[in-house]
Amino acid sequence: MVSGLHIQYYFVCHRKLWLYAKNIQLEEGHERVQTGKILHERAYKNSEEKELAVDNIKIDAIDGEYVREVKVTSKMTKADKWQLLFYLYELKKRGLNKKGLISYTKEKRTEEVVLTEKDEEELDKIKESIQEIMEQSYPPGVIHSPICTKCAYYDFCYAEEGEE
């Protein structure tokens, strides 16, 4: 089943998505994973809002008519936006019509996200291509993008014997 993290990874790197789907995870000692966790704990410590986790949905908080997500920076806006849209879509299928709010703590900025019919169609397509990638028997290639150096898979992807 496609989850929010799959959506994220789909927009970040298909190889990452595939590795994650095969349960090849390299978390040990990875700093950014930890930052995310700590941020999470802090952001909702004093709030009445509840974290929601059903099936493939894991939402930071639902607050009235809004589903809220907190991110450190706006670097991966597209991935964040689609993840949230995915959640809104999944909730809608379960009879809950909500709007979304993404807060970027570093920039102290909040963005409203509304699910349209076009988004829904797009999400169906995205989910299909995620399925296709996950079913591939070989991993997609290294993308050699600047984001690689900050990725948890960096050491894995770049562990190779270079020629002289």
Partner: protein, 329 residues
């Protein structure tokens, strides 16, 4: 920074509040900072209970046991958190397919031989060493023509024998030896090699456990019931690169002397002071860093072992063909 902790003395583990203490026979108390630890090596006789093991699991600390003679007995591993069925299935496939298995077996041998030759390169000015190196190289060239695993093993064995024969030319005279004797080691040089190799084995195993590799499925060595044989395979690469380098340094600098050994009836072993000296040098070696050509940052020798595991995973999942480490520096 995760640290390794070594217990040479005999004694017991005691818990007080949330801290564990090691109390030796003379009632000296030392606290164990488990949250900063990665491995505990136990060379002495130690009493502890399951409370202690629970705590090790909680903090993901491994504990390795050695008997009185410094021979490896076994390890308590906290349940593995890294599981990928996909990886294990593909790893097994590379064992079951004879051609794929031979490919990997040859890679381990060629890297191992490369590092053996590398250790001798500064001693070429001795005619004897130079001719041994030539002979090693010619056996290494045979690797292309052999197929079956026992033959590959045979090539490896011959190269290693030649390599050990060169030690008498490059090490101080008091450490001369006739041949490699493993069980039991008959002289000081054999004793230190055995000890070093078993420490290398556990170090490699610790790194394997941080990845998704299955330590029981191996290629050069037959998967065995007694050992995590993948660790033996990978250790082939690192024994000459790390263990032998440490031994040469310790013996040539005369840091380890014949008095650091214990002479028993039918064997020779490192005594506690010898073990401590080895481990100190070993840890220094593991922490030494080299600039990695692809990662573009400094990487410790220890981390090179992990990277070797990653490369194997990539090979198994059909991502990138495995090329073993051949120290280029």
């Amino acid at each position: 920074m995760n640290k390794d902790y070594y217990i040479f003395k005999s004694g017991r583990m005691r818990r007080k509040n949330n801290t564990f203490y090691f109390i030796d026979k003379e009632e000296n108390k030392k606290s164990l900072p488990v949250h900063q630890m990665e491995n505990i090596y136990v060379f002495g006789k130690v009493d502890f209970n399951t409370d202690f093991l629970n705590m090790l699991t909680q903090h993901n600390v491994r504990i390795h046991f050695y008997n009185y003679y410094g021979f490896y007995n076994g390890t308590y591993y906290p349940r593995s958190r890294q599981v990928s069925g996909f990886t294990v299935v593909n790893q097994s496939n590379h064992y079951l397919n004879e051609v794929k298995r031979q490919y990997l077996a040859k890679q381990f041998v060629s890297s191992s031989a490369f590092h053996m030759l590398r250790n001798l390169r500064n001693h070429k000015n001795y005619d004897e060493v130079a001719s041994i190196m030539e002979s090693m190289q010619s056996h290494l060239d045979l690797l292309d023509n052999v197929q079956r695993i026992p033959e590959i093993m045979g090539v490896e064995g011959t190269i290693r024998q030649l390599y050990y024969a060169s030690f008498n030319y490059i090490l101080p005279a008091e450490f001369a030896f006739d041949e490699r004797t493993k069980r039991p080691p008959k002289d000081p040089l054999n004793a230190i090699i055995s000890f070093g190799n078993s420490i290398c084995y556990t170090t490699v195993l610790t790194e394997i456990y941080k990845t998704h590799l299955d330590p029981t499925v191996s290629f050069l060595h037959e998967p065995s019931t007694k050992r995590f044989s993948l660790s033996l395979d990978i250790a082939e690469i690192f024994k000459p690169l790390l263990v032998d380098a440490v031994i040469f340094a310790l013996l040539n600098r005369k840091q380890i002397k014949t008095s650091d050994f214990e002479y028993l009836e039918d064997m020779v072993i490192l005594n506690d002071s010898g073990k401590k000296k080895f481990i100190k040098e070993w840890n220094g070696k593991l922490e030494t860093t080299i600039k990695h050509r692809r990662l573009k940052r400094n990487v410790s020798y220890k981390y090179f072992i992990r990277l070797e595991c990653y490369k194997l995973i990539k090979h198994f999942i059909g991502d990138q063909q495995y090329k073993p480490l051949k120290a280029w520096w």
